[in-house]
């Protein structure tokens, strides 16, 4: 590790490697502030990596929360421009089913217009034509400018741009305390979560952008930011069932959004209050699966007979303001806390609330606040400057057409040509389901803070396809070993952890082909290869 990172005195330290933290780092760096981003694990490990990937039009909030709706549609339009390759502009439907109140539709459309969302009532028959998977019994349909967005790629693009503007980035560095001098926060104490080394880094201002974990970060600084952890579970289906987002046109409820993204479809979410202590280890329960399936099948009946690849759950970082047990009527509005005025703690800002859609706006608000404290005049440019990979240039298709090309451009936009694809070896596929080549793996290792298989999965979708890592995990492990100079033990543990993590998402939906797939994977890794978990001593619990 480059020790000079810790010697520098920064303008800003940002805590949290989700979309908000990365966006804030980008904004700060673009305004010329010297910036350090610290993340305790990997990027996108919190709510950023565990949601629908929905590019909200804001329609969902139009009736209940105009402010959020307006923010969403504004940001929606901005993201279409600045994050073009990471966005799919396929529009969405809000459907009314026979059991729903059609009268709601009118109110809904009116609220949408008020918020500036172009909502259009369409004939149910037309809706079926536009989106053949939609429940054919629908009695009403509204078309809205929903889309989907890849949160992993979006966050990484922000990280890359922050770095291009001079920001320093540290993953696997957890804040263990704050440097306080004369009642002012002057930086953070860090622990390297891989080596265990203790470090410190100094800055004028520290921004807490740790999502739901922000409440714990604030507590460490002695201030109280009360958050409301609401667990949301989702299911991933094996292929794209729908090509438009499908929502229910009614008050937001469980499992009423179906989003197509990459080669899959996601249904979500449930909503349950969970204790803050549990947020690091979320498991999807059979009851949640049941709700998601039965409600999801109402949006698109095909879900009842479509293979499910995995289940996952995230925690919404909502700032608690009342005791609503559902967590839904709470405003998702942005909360930016100036702890100097609020709690008398100078040098500390918390940015929270909001949602993936408004990450950029949150970053702007927090950076504005920081700039005013630092006396920096620079204006925010993040809304008008395209992210890396999103510039206007076109990517030339190579002549000897090799099939991972489209997948690379899909994931990296105009950055794709910087991925080595010159020779046969670099073009070899590591992950066949998601078409990840050796060159792309190498690119991720080199440029995207990758040392483990799970990181590789988040960066390039390796192991995210149908088979969930059946062959590619071991192929990639070999490459990681060679290029990261890791010990075999370390990589072996990484592989075991990766397999267990894949299983974590599979077992809640472990039936049909997914169970068969799991058996095949265990035959390959456990039986054929003989891999055992580092903690395999307890492998025989049953008689």
């Amino acid at each position: 590790m480059n020790t000079s990172i810790f010697e520098k005195h920064y303008d800003i330290i940002i805590i949290g490697g989700g979309a908000t933290g990365a966006g804030t780092a980008r904004d700060c760096a673009m305004r010329g502030l010297s910036t350090l981003l610290v993340e305790r694990y990997d990027f996108t490990t919190g709510a950023t990596g565990r949601n629908h990937g929905l590019l909200h039009s804001g329609a969902r909030y139009a009736v209940t929360d105009q402010e959020s709706a307006t923010e969403c549609i504004d940001e929606n339009m901005i993201l279409r421009y600045i994050a073009k390759p990471y966005v799919e502009e396929h529009d969405g439907l809000f459907i009314t089913l026979p059991e729903d109140d059609l009268a709601y539709q009118e109110k809904f459309v009116e609220s949408c217009w008020k918020a500036g969302i172009n909502a259009k009532i369409i004939d149910p028959k037309e809706a079926i034509q536009m989106e053949p998977s939609v429940n054919p019994t629908l009695i009403g349909a509204v078309q809205v400018p929903d889309g989907s967005i890849d949160p992993f790629r979006l966050t990484m693009a922000n990280v890359l741009d922050a770095q291009l503007h001079g920001a320093q980035v540290l993953t696997y560095h957890e804040v263990t305390g704050f440097i306080m001098e004369n009642g002012r926060m002057m930086g953070v104490y860090l622990r390297d979560n891989i080596t265990g080394e203790k470090r410190e880094a100094r800055a004028e201002i520290t921004i807490n952008a740790a999502g739901i974990w922000g409440t714990l970060v604030a507590r460490m600084a002695g201030v109280n930011v009360s958050m409301f952890p609401a667990k949301g579970s989702l299911l991933i289906f094996g292929h794209r069932v729908n090509n438009m987002v499908i929502n229910r046109c009614r008050k937001p409820a469980n499992a009423d959004i179906l989003v197509p993204g990459d080669a899959i479809t996601v249904i979500g979410t449930t909503s349950d209050r969970v204790p803050i202590e549990s947020v690091d280890d979320m498991h999807v329960t059979p009851e949640e699966v049941e709700v998601l399936l039965s409600e999801g099948a109402k949006l698109a009946p095909a879900l009842a007979t479509t293979r499910i690849l995995r289940a996952y759950a995230g925690v919404r970082p909502l700032v608690a303001s009342d005791n609503d047990p559902s967590g839904r009527s709470i405003s998702r509005g942005i909360v930016c806390l100036d702890h100097e005025t609020r709690d008398g703690l100078a040098g500390f800002i918390t940015i929270t609330g909001g949602k993936l859609m408004t990450y950029r706006m949150m970053a702007e608000v927090a950076t504005d606040m920081a700039c005013s404290k630092l006396g920096v005049q620079q204006k925010c440019q993040t809304a008008t400057t395209p992210l890396p990979g999103s510039d206007k240039s076109t990517v030339e298709e190579p002549e000897n057409h090799l099939y991972a090309f489209n997948a690379r451009v899909g994931r990296h936009g105009t950055l794709a040509p910087s991925i080595a694809a010159m020779d046969d070896y670099q073009n070899s596929l590591v992950c066949e389901c998601e078409e990840v080549s050796v060159g792309e793996v190498a690119h991720a290792i080199e440029n995207m803070h990758v040392r483990t298989l799970t990181q590789l999965r988040r960066r390039v979708r390796l192991g995210m396809g149908t088979c969930q890592g059946e062959l590619c995990a071991l192929r990639a492990a070999g490459i990681l070993c060679a290029s990261c100079k890791k010990s075999i033990e370390e990589e072996m543990a990484d592989l075991a952890e990766f397999l267990n993590e894949r299983w974590k998402g599979m077992y809640p939906v472990g039936w049909g082909s997914t169970l068969s797939e799991a058996q095949l994977t265990s035959i390959i890794y456990q039986d054929l290869c003989g891999i055992t978990s580092p903690s395999m001593k307890d492998r025989r619990q049953e008689p």
Binding site: C481, I488, M492, G512, L515, C529, G530, I531, M536
Partner: protein, 416 residues
């Protein structure tokens, strides 16, 4: 169509049973819905690698008596297993599948990640060790083909090193393989083996291997020769000056495919009918007996036999199926041993005992199946479709396939 016996499933157990019955002069048909799990094989066959406590079984026969009483081996009994193990080895030899190893003492195969695992029989020319703690060589050359990703050489080299063997890694290529690498996805073991089936390419590979100057005792290379017969393997071995030994790769498995091909070849030579790509659609049961089956390809043709043998494998072969509500046997809905509650099928830790692995079709001591509690006297089950054991943990999958196949075949031949 009328047969003496119809076997549903054409993998290791189905073919073993079919060959044994054909050898006894019976008219046998095998109906196979597709290729088998031998395609994921290691080049070795396991009888019993680990005892009930998870310790390595030095002598598999000794450990059988201590297995769970539901284990298929317990239905056969140790003495019979000992005999059948001999018979299995002879049967393989008869098919041209030559192996080393005995049921009295496990030896060790080297896995594609460089671990040692106890095993029963290993194909000739594949690297093994008599000991769990060391290898027979002080130093070896570990050769891989350039660009072949399904042989994680870093892990193997490290694994061998930990066992005290010095490895020298060599990456080799020849023009034909270089051309194959142009395909981003098809640089697979079996495709490579197809290239390495001509004298010309074998000579080139041999030349490369012979040009290495290290003082290693042996050359270890991935199992990428000898796809449909052993010829190219033996031919290469002859051309190479140092002892040449093969190591299994990630699937598709060249030694497994060869076993499949050679078993199938022997079965048809003996007059058996092998229907590939055909799925049994329906079975008609009357008075506790299966009267006939129909298949996806032969349509309304009724296939009848004196007895039927179910050898359809586990979940990954569709011998067992599961859905949101239950686990079932898809052809006849035979009785299965499976937990009812979905949450009891799995363990959240992938490396702990996964209950579903031990689910299977219920049988009596003679491997007769049952339907709604009533024994189907002419319907037997063999191989991975049987429950009662966890092949991942006990390393006994291929053994159970062969032992139960032979046990049932002998039963039928001797009218027991």
């Amino acid at each position: 169509m009328k047969f003496d016996y119809i076997i549903i499933g054409g993998g290791l157990s189905g073919l073993t049973c079919g060959i044994r019955l054909s050898q006894a002069g019976k008219k046998v048909a095998i109906i196979s819905a597709g290729q088998s799990t031998l395609h994921f094989g290691s080049g070795s066959l396991d009888l019993l690698g680990y005892d009930n406590e998870g310790n390595i079984a030095d002598n598999p026969l000794d450990a059988i008596g201590r297995l769970n009483e539901n284990h298929p081996y317990r239905k056969i009994g140790t003495e019979r297993i000992e005999r059948l193990a001999e018979e299995a080895k002879t049967l393989l030899d008869d098919c041209g599948i030559h192996t080393t190893g005995t049921a009295q003492k496990n030896h060790y195969r080297i896995t594609p990640m460089g671990f040692l695992k106890p095993t029963w029989l290993t194909l000739e020319n594949y690297a093994t060790s008599p000991s769990a703690s060391e290898l027979p060589w002080k130093s070896v050359i570990l050769a891989n083909v350039a660009g072949f990703l399904d042989f994680p050489i870093e892990f193997i080299s490290d694994g061998l090193g930990k066992l005290g063997t010095r490895t020298e890694v060599e990456i080799i290529s020849i023009p034909a393989l270089k051309a194959r690498r142009h395909s981003p996805s098809e640089m697979r073991s079996a495709n490579i083996a197809k290239i390495l089936s001509s004298e010309e390419t074998l000579n080139q590979i041999a030349e490369v291997l012979n040009s290495m100057e290290e003082t290693a005792e042996a050359i270890l290379m991935p199992a990428i020769v000898g796809l449909d017969k052993q010829d190219s393997e033996s031919s290469l071995k002859q051309k190479v000056r140092r002892p040449l030994l093969l190591l299994p790769t990630l699937p598709p498995s060249v030694p497994g495919i060869r076993m499949q091909t050679m078993l199938q070849r022997r079965f048809t030579q003996l007059g058996g009918l092998y229907l590939m790509g055909s799925m049994v659609k329906e079975g008609h049961v009357e008075n506790g007996k299966l009267e006939y089956v129909t298949t996806s390809t032969l349509m309304d043709e009724r296939l009848t036999a004196d007895a039927y043998i179910l050898a359809t494998g586990s979940f990954l072969s569709d011998g067992l199926k599961s859905n949101y509500e239950r686990i079932f046997e898809p052809i006849l809905n035979l009785d299965v041993t499976a937990k009812e509650n979905r949450a009891d099928w799995i363990d959240p830790n992938v490396f702990r005992t996964q209950p579903y692995q031990a689910f299977g079709v219920k049988t009596n001591e003679r491997f007769q199946t049952s339907l709604e509690g009533q024994t189907l006297e002419n319907m037997y089950a063999i191989g991975s479709v049987l429950g009662g054991h966890n092949a991942i943990q006990q390393a006994d999958g291929t053994g159970v396939s062969m032992m139960t196949a032979l046990a049932v075949a002998n039963q039928l031949i001797n009218n027991l």
